[in-house]
Symmetry: C2
Subunit: 197 residues, 2 copies
């Protein structure tokens, strides 16, 4: 890397003398990604996490079996509680960064620094959402299929609406994870494109 850095430095250093006569060709603007894509993706992450959360927390179902009634609620499982907390954090984060991203369009001077911060935080939020989706997904799968090795009975044959809600919510949170990956890629690519060739 010592050499690259040196090479890059030399190129950068060399750029100055000829630049005086013919200015360096401007970067083709067609290849840069318009900042509105970042805003749109972040707004979509917000919409996805909010949808996922609402569908998840409204999954409550009560079943009447003869004299006694059984209730299924998301807070009966620690993994589901973790999911709700993680998606809430991700939803709040995506709302705030959507606003921040809009403000950058208006003040592009901050752009480089913000892109760096966005990439840093997006990675943490991705880890949070991915782990929460995995955690809730594996519990939901046991609910759907059971596990005969340890005699954990499936519950989705009884609590059908509950399981449909959780399944739908998990699909949307998986979509949110994919969007977060795209967002990080976008930030990294945008930063990379600003290195002079």
């Amino acid at each position: 890397m010592a050499t690259t850095e040196k090479a890059a430095d030399t190129e950068y250093g060399k750029e100055a003398p000829p630049a005086a006569a013919p200015p360096p060709p401007p970067k083709p603007s067609g290849t840069t990604i318009p900042p509105i894509v970042d805003v749109a993706l972040r707004a979509l992450v917000f919409a996805a996490t909010l949808t996922s959360l609402l569908v998840f927390v409204t999954s409550k179902q009560t079943i009447h079996l003869g004299p006694r009634s059984m209730e299924a609620k998301f807070d009966h499982s620690p993994a589901f509680i973790y999911f709700v907390v993680a998606l809430s954090v991700a939803g709040l984060y995506s709302l705030l960064t959507t606003l921040a991203s809009i403000s950058i369009i208006q003040k592009p001077a901050f752009s480089n620094t913000f892109l760096l911060y966005f990439a840093f935080w997006d990675v943490l939020i991705l880890g949070l959402v991915a782990s929460a989706t995995g955690a809730a997904g594996s519990v939901a799968y046991i609910g759907l299929r059971g596990n005969k090795h340890v005699q954990w009975q499936k519950v989705c044959n009884v609590f059908d609406k509950y399981c449909r809600h959780i399944g739908g919510s998990l699909a949307v949170s998986l979509f949110a994870s994919v969007l977060l990956v795209l967002l990080i890629w976008l930030s990294v690519l945008t930063i990379h494109k600003r290195i002079p060739k």
Copy 2:
């Protein structure tokens, strides 16, 4: 901050004409991260995933309860199988990228492009490892505590060695996730530092 960034932009725009006379001061090399850090982190991810895998797959335990024997193996749970597959992919990936990262030290010309590819793939592998850790972790938690709402009995009071192995393995895979976050941060920061100020 507006002032700094604006100042930086103006400097960059204005740079060409005055740069012809005095070349811009070289970037302080003390702030760049030595590429060996990337190699070391990747090697550490490899060591962590390999350790986690080995501890996980050796978790098999057989209990003799009177006349019948019960066995606990990792492939009794789909979430645990997903964990093993995900960690295997991450282990192989980290081995290959450790070698790639070493080769970049020797041929630094490719450095920028490789950093971009590394960041892209690291994000996917982070998503994989985080979701697998979440999935296996939530099943392990039910094994440890049970869930009285759905009458899933805990099994770790019986399969103690099995659960110790899985718990240890999960702790190491969580550590691998943290290392992957650091690796992505490192790549993004290194790319960011190459944007001329």
